[in-house]
Amino acid sequence: MFIVNYRKIFFTISTVLVVLGIFSMFYFGFNAGIDFKGGAIIEVVYTNARPDILLITDSVKKEFSDAHIQTVEDDGVFVRTRDLTDAEHTKLLNIISFDGKNQITEKRFNSIGPTIGKELRSKAWYAIIAVILGIVLFIAFAFRRVAKPISSWKYGLITTLALVHDIIIPAGIFAYLGKEVNSLFVVALLSILGISVHDKIVVFDRVRENLKLKISNSFEEIVGKSLEQTFTRSVNTSLTILVVLFALWYAGPATTKDFALLLFTGVFIGTYSSVFFATPLLVTLERWQSKNK
C-alpha cells in the first residue's frame, strides 16, 4: 500500500500544515466575536434611502468613539461597539435614525457583557478538551481486546494526535482569513472532532478485524490492506458530507456560512488525516515498539 510505504512524506505534509496552523493562530490571532470578548452589535435598515454613510459614522463616533460602522446591502448599517446598557442602546438608535428623521427598523441587536464572554470562552476550551479525553477513553475501551502488536491505548493516543491535527489546521486557516471566532466556530470545531473520529474508528475497526482474521503476519501489510478496504467508504462518506456542507455554505443562512466553510475544511482535513496520517502512524508506532524491545 503506497500510503503506508510513503508515510514519511505524508507525515511531513501534516507536520508542515500543523506548524503553519499554529503559526497562523499566533501570528494573525483570532478575531474574537462579541460573544467571546463582550461588546455589542446592531443592525438596522432604513425605511427610505440610507443617509450618507460618512454622516452616520461621524455622528455615531461622536458618542461612541470605539464604534465600527459598516454598510449592509443597499439600505442597512451594521455597528459594532463595546457592550451597551439599555439607555446607551436607545441613544445609539436615536443617533442612527437622526432622532427619528430617518425611519429605521432594528433587525438585530446583541450586547454581551465581558463576564459572559469570558465564561463562554473558557467553557469552549473545557468542552473541546473534555470531548478529546472522552474519545480517547472510549477508543482505548473499544479496542481493549486488541493488545497486539500495539496496545489499545496507542490507538487512542494516535486518534488524539490526529484530532488535534484536524482542528489546528482549519483553526489556523480561520485565523489567517480573519473570520470571526464565536460560539458557532466552537460548535464547528467540535463537529469536526465528531466526524473525524467517526472516520478513524471505521479504519481502525477494519485493522482490528483483520488482526483477528490474521490475514497477514506483517502489521504493516494488515494496516495497508485495511486502508485499501476502507478507502472507497472514507472518500464516499466525506464526499456526501462535503456536498451537504457545500449546500449549507452556498444556500444556507448567513449566520452559518462561516460555520459551513470551517466544517468543510475540517471534514476534508479529517478524512485526509484518517487515511494519510493516523493509520500509517500505527505502523510507525509498532516499528518503534519492536525496535525498543
Binding site: 433587525k107 441587536f109 459572559i116 469570558k118 465564561e119 456526501t240 452559518t256
Partner: protein, 474 residues
C-alpha cells in the same frame, strides 16, 4: 421472506403516515402543496407545530445578573424562585406566546460559579426597550389617610407655599417638611399586604375597576383604618403618585377595596398586572441583550430548509448513481430517517435553532455513512463470490461493529457538549445525539429489512450489476 416483506411494508406505511403527519401539522405548507384544508385531524395536528428558536423566529433574549449580596445565604434559592415568579408574571403581561424565564448559574468552568442569572426569552418581541422597562420596574403601592387639621398640616402647607414663592425669586427654600404630603399621612398599609388584585367591571356603568384583596394581616389593618376614617378620604398611591382618593362609607372588614379611577380596560389590566407582580425580591442588572428581527429569522429558516433540501437531493442522486439498488434503498431509509427526526422535533418538542439544524444536517451525514458502510461491505462479500442474501447478511454484521463504535463516540461527544456547552452548543448537541440514535435505528432496521424483503437470492448478471457500484464493469 414473507415476514421481512410484511415488516418492510409496515415500516413503509408508518413512514408515509409520519410524513403525512409532519406535512399536515404545518398547515401552511400543506395548503401550499396540495391546496385546500387538511382533510383529517386538523385540530389535533395543529397542536404540533415546529418550535423555532429566537434566532429563527425573531425575538429578544435577555440575561440578568441577580444581586444576592443582600440575601442571607440560606434564603438564596427561595429568593431566586420568587424572583423568577415575579418576572414571569411581568413577562406574561406582554401576551407573548410561550415566553421563557429561567434561572441559570454561572459555570464553574468560567470562573463565575456563584453568579446567579435569570434568562428571559420573548419570542416575537423586538421592542426591547419597552420589555426591559416592564421587567425591571418596581411598583410601590401605598395607602394614606387624611391628615387632621392642625399645626402640622398648616406647617407643611406653608412649606409648600414658601417653596412655590421661592421658585419665582430663584432663591430656593427647601424644608424637610416638603417630603410629606400636606393632606395625607402615611399608614402601615402598603402593597406588601396585598394578596392579589383583579379587574372588575361596574355592574351599572360598565366601567372597569381594580379590586384589591388584602391578606389576613392587611385586612385587619384595613378594617382598623376604615373604622376610624368613616366619611373621610383614603388615598391610594401607586409609584408615589395618587391615583384615587375615595371616601370611606363604612368599616370594611373583609379586606377588599376597589379603586375606580377613570381607567380604560387596558390601563386597569396593566395596573392589576403590576400590582400582582409587586416589587422584585432580588435586585437585577441586565448583562446581555440579544434582539433578532423577525425578517432576519425567517430568512435564516428559509435558507436553512433550502440548503437542507439541496443537500439531501445531492446525496440521493449520488447514492442511486453509485450504489444502484442498495442506493435506492438507502434513499428510502434516509427519507424515513428524516421524517422520524422531524416527528421527534414536533413531539418532544425540541426548539430548533440555526445551530440545532446544523446538528441535524450533520447527523444526516452519519446516517448516510451507515448506509455506505453496509453497501461497501455487502459488495466486498459479493466479490468473494458469495450469493446475494449471504452477502447482505455478512455485510450487515461486519459493518455493524464500525457503525456501533463510531456512533457511540459521536454520542459521547454529544453528551459532553450538552454537559459543558452554552445554550447554543446545547441545541446543536441535542439534535446531533438524537439524530445519531435515530440513524442507527434506520440504518439497521429499515435498510436491512428492505434489502432482505427484495427477495433476491440468485446471482444473475442483472442482480450482480444492481448490487455493485461505481462506473467500472464487474
Amino acid at each position: 421472506m414473507l415476514k421481512h416483506r410484511l415488516f418492510a411494508g409496515t415500516v413503509l406505511v408508518l413512514g408515509i403516515l409520519v410524513a403525512y403527519f409532519v406535512y399536515a401539522s404545518e398547515s401552511k405548507i400543506y395548503e401550499k402543496l396540495f391546496g385546500g384544508k387538511i382533510p383529517y385531524g386538523r385540530d389535533i395536528l395543529a397542536k404540533f407545530p415546529f418550535k423555532l428558536g429566537l434566532d429563527l423566529s425573531g425575538g429578544s433574549h435577555l440575561v440578568y445578573r441577580a444581586d444576592l449580596s443582600q440575601i442571607k445565604s440560606g434564603d438564596t434559592s427561595d429568593s431566586l424562585e420568587a424572583l423568577r415568579d415575579v418576572i414571569e408574571r411581568r413577562v406574561n403581561l406582554f401576551g407573548v406566546a410561550e415566553p421563557i424565564v429561567q434561572l441559570e448559574q454561572g459555570s464553574i468552568a468560567g470562573g463565575t460559579g456563584n453568579e446567579q442569572r435569570l434568562v428571559v426569552e420573548l419570542p416575537g418581541v423586538t421592542n426591547v426597550q419597552e420589555a426591559i422597562k416592564t421587567i425591571g420596574q418596581t411598583p410601590t403601592l401605598e395607602f394614606k389617610t387624611e391628615r387632621p387639621a392642625g399645626k402640622e398640616k398648616d406647617d407643611i402647607i406653608k412649606a409648600y407655599e414658601d417653596y412655590q414663592k421661592s421658585l419665582k425669586t430663584g432663591n430656593l427654600v427647601f424644608s424637610p417638611l416638603l417630603a410629606q404630603d400636606p393632606y395625607f399621612i402615611d399608614t402601615p398599609l402598603t402593597g406588601r399586604f396585598l394578596d392579589h388584585s383583579l379587574v372588575e367591571f361596574d355592574s351599572t356603568t360598565r366601567e372597569p375597576k381594580v379590586s384589591l384583596v388584602f391578606n389576613a394581616e392587611g385586612a385587619k389593618i384595613f378594617a382598623e383604618m376604615t373604622k376610624v376614617n368613616v366619611n373621610k378620604q383614603i388615598a391610594i398611591y401607586l409609584d408615589r403618585s395618587a391615583i384615587t382618593a375615595p371616601v370611606v362609607r363604612e368599616e370594611i372588614k373583609d379586606g377588599k377595596a376597589v379603586i375606580s379611577g377613570n381607567f380604560t380596560p387596558q390601563e386597569a389590566k396593566l395596573l392589576v398586572g403590576r400590582l400582582n407582580s409587586g416589587a422584585l425580591p432580588v435586585p437585577i442588572t441586565l448583562v446581555s441583550t440579544q434582539v433578532i428581527g423577525a425578517p432576519l429569522g425567517e430568512k435564516a429558516l428559509r435558507d436553512g430548509v433550502y440548503a437542507g433540501i439541496i443537500g439531501l437531493l445531492a446525496i440521493a442522486i449520488f447514492l442511486v448513481v453509485w450504489y444502484r439498488l442498495p442506493g435506492v434503498i438507502a434513499v428510502v431509509a434516509l427519507s424515513i430517517y428524516v421524517m422520524i427526526m422531524l416527528l421527534v422535533f414536533k413531539l418532544i418538542p425540541i426548539t430548533l435553532t440555526a445551530a440545532g439544524i446544523a446538528g441535524f444536517i450533520l447527523s444526516i451525514g452519519m446516517a448516510v455513512d451507515a448506509n455506505i458502510l453496509i453497501a461497501e461491505r455487502t459488495k466486498e462479500e459479493l466479490r468473494q463470490g458469495k450469493d446475494i442474501s449471504t452477502s447482505i447478511n455478512e455485510g450487515f454484521s461486519r459493518a455493524w461493529l464500525s457503525i456501533r463504535d463510531s456512533n457511540i463516540s459521536s454520542i459521547i461527544t454529544g453528551i459532553i457538549l450538552f454537559w459543558f456547552g452554552s445554550s447554543l452548543i446545547e441545541g446543536f448537541a441535542l439534535t446531533f445525539v438524537l439524530g445519531v440514535l435515530v440513524s442507527m435505528f434506520s440504518a439497521i432496521t429499515v435498510t436491512r429489512t428492505f434489502l432482505k424483503s427484495l427477495g433476491i437470492t440468485s446471482r444473475t448478471r442483472l442482480t450482480a450489476f444492481l448490487f455493485s457500484s461505481g462506473f467500472h464493469k464487474n
